[in-house]
């Protein structure tokens, strides 16, 4: 029960978004396929930014990570 509750943050927004979803055929996804429409449009930039914020802020997660930990301070 507890595990399913933990997934509510995913299920609720997905449900809200889906309520306004439209059927999009494969041949209608040209715009969605543009590089600037990717969730991560620039992996090298994301890697660097994630590494900096991982080193300088108390929070992490939800973005790209540059491998494992580091002694960066």
């Amino acid at each position: 029960m507890k595990k399913s509750l933990a997934l509510l943050p995913l299920i609720i927004p997905a449900g809200l978004v889906c309520s306004s979803c439209q059927p999009v055929q494969a041949w209608e996804r040209g715009t969605l396929a543009k590089p600037e429409m990717a969730i991560d449009a620039d992996p090298m930039e994301t890697t660097l930014n994630t590494h900096i914020f991982f080193s300088k802020e108390a929070s992490n997660g939800g973005h790209n990570a540059a491998g494992g930990g580091c002694g960066c301070n």
Partner: protein, 382 residues
């Protein structure tokens, strides 16, 4: 053969240690590409008004990044990435009770010079209804060694309009501080990290999509910063991050809007909010300009103290500014041009912190860091 989804819906896998950057598309790369980027990261000096002792010049870091993405057979994509950093400068060592006005911060006396190298390898298998990948990586400094490994999988549903993804990763860090005998530091410590995520992605219409992901990361072992005097932290930490991303293309302006929000909580007592917005503006076929803005706010850790209390030896306490309550605003501007099979990119970003920017509770620190970062990169497809 059922067509593969065209868009990137699996990049939340990148949130985990051990899961490295991979190709965006949910189909194997058809060409190889190589990217190189050099960046300079410069922290502002600690203001003299807060400096009690030591060198006020904080870190300057130069970062070289390399990335190779190449197809392997018909259904696999291989990503090799590496970075090399050289850093110099001083960092806050400890904080004294306010003395001579507001001077309280003692910086590390001698300038630190250090290098870090990391290598990451990811092999992704693409299938009709999704993909999965194995990843490994290492990061090495003269006093720190980390290895990591991970696995992630994504499956498409509902005529490839929705994707559910998940993954796990582990990493191990070994810490061997320098000058251990001189400063009574630990000599040989380690920590283990395990992490898992699930994500849901959905195409909303022909021009927009949404992704929501939940990450859990657990650290066990030595979590104290050995280079800070009087720093003691709990030996375990569990972190939760709930991230949401929205992408919308505006056809009339030939531009893409990126909106991201992240809610974070851990058992150190840190809560945070992160907001990101970016506008990818195409200018003709060969140029793209991208302004971006980020807001970040965090609460202080339960055991954060603005000044060191050395009577708390062995009890969790830290004056590390990264565990203080503060807010940060950063703005960036990126310019990219595309010339045949090559692209050039330049980015500048400024990051400014202030206790007053925070929407969270807790005490702050005078040692908050501001920095400027510039990057210049090239990529080539062949």
């Amino acid at each position: 053969m059922k067509s593969r989804s065209l868009i990137a819906l699996t990049t939340s896998a990148l949130a985990l240690p051990g899961i490295t950057s991979t190709a965006n598309a949910d189909s194997p790369p058809t060409e190889s590409s190589f990217g190189y980027r050099v960046s300079t990261y410069e922290e502002d000096n600690l203001p003299e008004e807060f400096l009690f002792l030591g060198d006020p010049e904080r870190y300057d870091i130069t970062i070289h990044q390399f990335q190779l993405v190449t197809p392997v057979g018909e259904n696999y994509g291989l990503t090799l990435s590496s970075s090399y950093e050289s850093m110099s400068g001083a960092s806050p060592w400890y904080a004294l009770p306010v003395f001579e006005g507001e001077k309280s911060i003692v910086m590390s006396g001698a300038t630190i010079h250090e290098q870090r190298r990391d290598y990451n390898l990811s092999l992704r298998r693409y299938q009709d209804n999704g993909n999965y990948a194995f990843s490994i990586g290492t990061s090495r400094e003269n006093d720190y060694y980390s290895w990591s490994g991970g696995f992630d999988i994504a499956r498409n549903f509902n005529n490839d309009l929705a994707t559910i993804a998940g993954g796990v990763s582990v990493s191990n860090d070994d810490i061997n501080p320098t000058d251990a005998a001189l400063f009574n530091r630990v000599t040989d410590e380690s920590k283990r990290t395990s992490s898992a995520f699930v994500s849901v992605s959905q195409i909303i219409d022909q021009n927009s999509l949404f992704q929501s992901s939940l990450n859990m990361t657990r650290h066990k072992g030595f979590l104290t910063d050995p280079y800070k005097l009087g720093d003691t932290r709990p030996d375990s930490r569990t972190q939760w991050a709930w991230s949401n991303a929205y992408r919308r293309f505006v056809n009339s302006l030939d531009a893409a809007l990126h909106l991201d929000v992240r809610f974070y909580n851990d058992d150190f007592g840190v809560n945070s909010l992160t907001l990101n917005a970016a506008w990818y503006q195409n200018l003709g076929d060969n140029w793209q300009i991208t302004p971006s803005i980020r807001y970040y706010s965090q609460s202080a850790a339960d055991f954060f103290t603005p000044v060191n209390d050395f009577s708390l030896y062995g009890v969790p306490n830290s004056s590390d500014y990264r565990l203080a309550s503060y807010g940060a605003v950063s703005g960036g501007l990126q310019v990219q041009t595309f010339i045949d099979d090559m692209s050039l990119v330049f980015k500048i970003e400024r990051y400014v912190t202030d206790a007053d920017y925070s929407i969270h509770n807790g005490q702050s620190s005078p040692a908050l860091v501001n920095f400027t970062r510039m990057s210049l990169g090239v990529s080539y497809t062949f």
